[in-house]
């Protein structure tokens, strides 16, 4: 490829913009490796401008693997730039980025602001990390999902699988593996599942163990969606109620009801 061809490519597909959230590098369509070469050239032209900064990467609908993201990260670090966020329309790319500990949105502060307005007078604490990752598959034995925000699974979480979330955990399926919500110490975190039968359930520093195998089978017979949370220093589980009952004061509401009912979780 001639030099001028690279120039064209770089102008067409690599775009660096300054936004209120900092620098965002847009990588458009086209061959991935060509884009990286173009990006390197662009950075090389004014290295001192970028040095020591942090950037977000916008890859549009492109589906990237962890290895590909790592290559970009390494390339940027050569110019002493740190990559802090990856923006993409692809759920897969978002998931990979989240697993690598990168942010997948620039708008955290804006979301908080909007939520604050909607709720109005209510005192509402935004839990650490309102972002979530969503997985639509069976989480099998030995597989693990670890995320600083919330984790949502559409599918079963089998025994031997593990979820560790900084925020809440929602399982649209049977939760039979290990789960740790509020892993960064947030004891306001909750765990919801259509069938809540985890082997080990942790919220912040609290631990609840599954009742014996026999019990849990009987337990699964009468399935109702449940939510587990911390109340009076222990984890309790409650049948899930309609959202309108619970919102906006659903946590207080749950606590009130939990006072009457002690569940199987100790």
């Amino acid at each position: 490829m001639t030099h001028s061809a690279i120039e064209t490519t770089s102008r067409a597909y690599v775009n660096i913009k300054g936004t209120s959230d900092g620098l965002v590098i847009h990588l458009g369509a086209g061959d991935w490796n060509t884009l990286l070469i173009a990006l390197a050239e662009k950075l090389d032209r004014t290295p001192s401008f970028f040095r020591g900064g942090r950037v977000a990467l916008n890859v549009g609908p492109r589906q990237l693997t962890a290895a590909q993201l790592e290559v970009v990260g390494n390339l940027l670090s050569k110019f002493q730039i740190s990559l802090w966020a990856v923006l993409s329309d692809s759920v897969e790319t978002q998931r990979v980025a989240a697993e690598m500990g990168l942010e997948t949105s620039l708008t955290l502060s804006r979301t908080e602001h909007l939520l604050g307005e909607k709720i109005g007078g209510h005192e509402r604490v935004i839990a650490d990390g309102e972002q979530a990752i969503l997985l639509r598959r069976i989480l099998r034995s030995g597989q693990s999902v670890c995320h600083t925000g919330h984790v949502i699974i559409i599918g079963d979480v089998n025994p031997g699988a593990e979820i560790i979330a900084g925020g809440d955990v929602v399982v649209w399926g049977r939760l039979r593996g290990n789960v740790h919500a509020g892993s960064n110490g947030n004891d306001q975190a909750v765990v919801c599942a259509l069938v809540l039968a985890p082997m080990l359930l942790r919220i912040a520093g609290y631990v609840a163990r599954s009742p014996g195998r026999e019990d849990s089978e009987a337990y699964e017979q009468s399935v109702v969606p449940e939510v587990a949370f911390v109340h009076n220093g222990q984890i309790v589980a409650e049948p899930w109620r309609a959202m309108e009952d619970l919102y906006p004061d659903w946590r207080t509401d749950l606590l009130r009801r939990a006072a009457n009912t002690l569940s199987t979780w100790f």
């Binding site: 099998r140 025994p159 031997g160």
Partner: protein
Amino acid sequence: MGATVITITSGKGGVGKTTATANLSAALAMRGKRVVAIDADIGLRNLDVVMGLENRIVYDLVNVVEGACRLRQALIKDKRIENLYMIPAAQSRDKSAIRPQDMIDVCDQLRPEFDFILIDSPAGIEQGFRNAIAPADRICIITTPEVSAVRDADRVVGLVEAEGKGPTSLILNRLRPQMVQRGDMLDTADVLDVLAIELLGIVPEDETIIVSTNRGIPVVMENKSRAAQAFCNIAARLLGENVPIMELEEPSPSWLGKIASWVHRK
């Protein structure tokens, strides 16, 4: 046309991978297909023993991979069934003697000459397992109705999915219908409930398997036991035939027995 490569794996040891490989290979060959069975359990070879071809080994898979012999020299022809061949594993080496790419190369060489290549995977999820699934077009997971075996099978399904391999189907081995009826054993629904993959067949517990394994004659070759029938049915399903899953409840009494009980009732 090229052969279909089927890897038989389980995670847990002793659930019947080798027995299933030997019997399915023989059953497919008896249906007139050209079949080669490859023992990928390097260092703990025993497919040759189960197939009764132990005394015919000159060269093995590692010899082929290292170029010590030609592939054709390591192919052992079964004299009892037309079109049945096997490639033994080395006994004096370990799993690190071959790489996944070697398995792919060997299978690619064999594909034009065979209809089916069955690979007997070692237990575990390490290098030997990765070697065994590398060339696979489809994967048969074998498990017994035990919680531990099902847990390992779930782990293996997850790993296979992560490698982008499949389709994955299940053989449920050593099921004891009486124990299931008494509620002392996991039943098919319990196993499928966790694994959520296609059921390829159910093989009942059968003493004739032990006898035939020790004698080096796969059960499908010589008797009409229920296990032999189950393996023949699985082979038929691999050929794309629609064979219903065998009823495993106790056989209904013979006509003589029926008359006897009728007379008795009078």
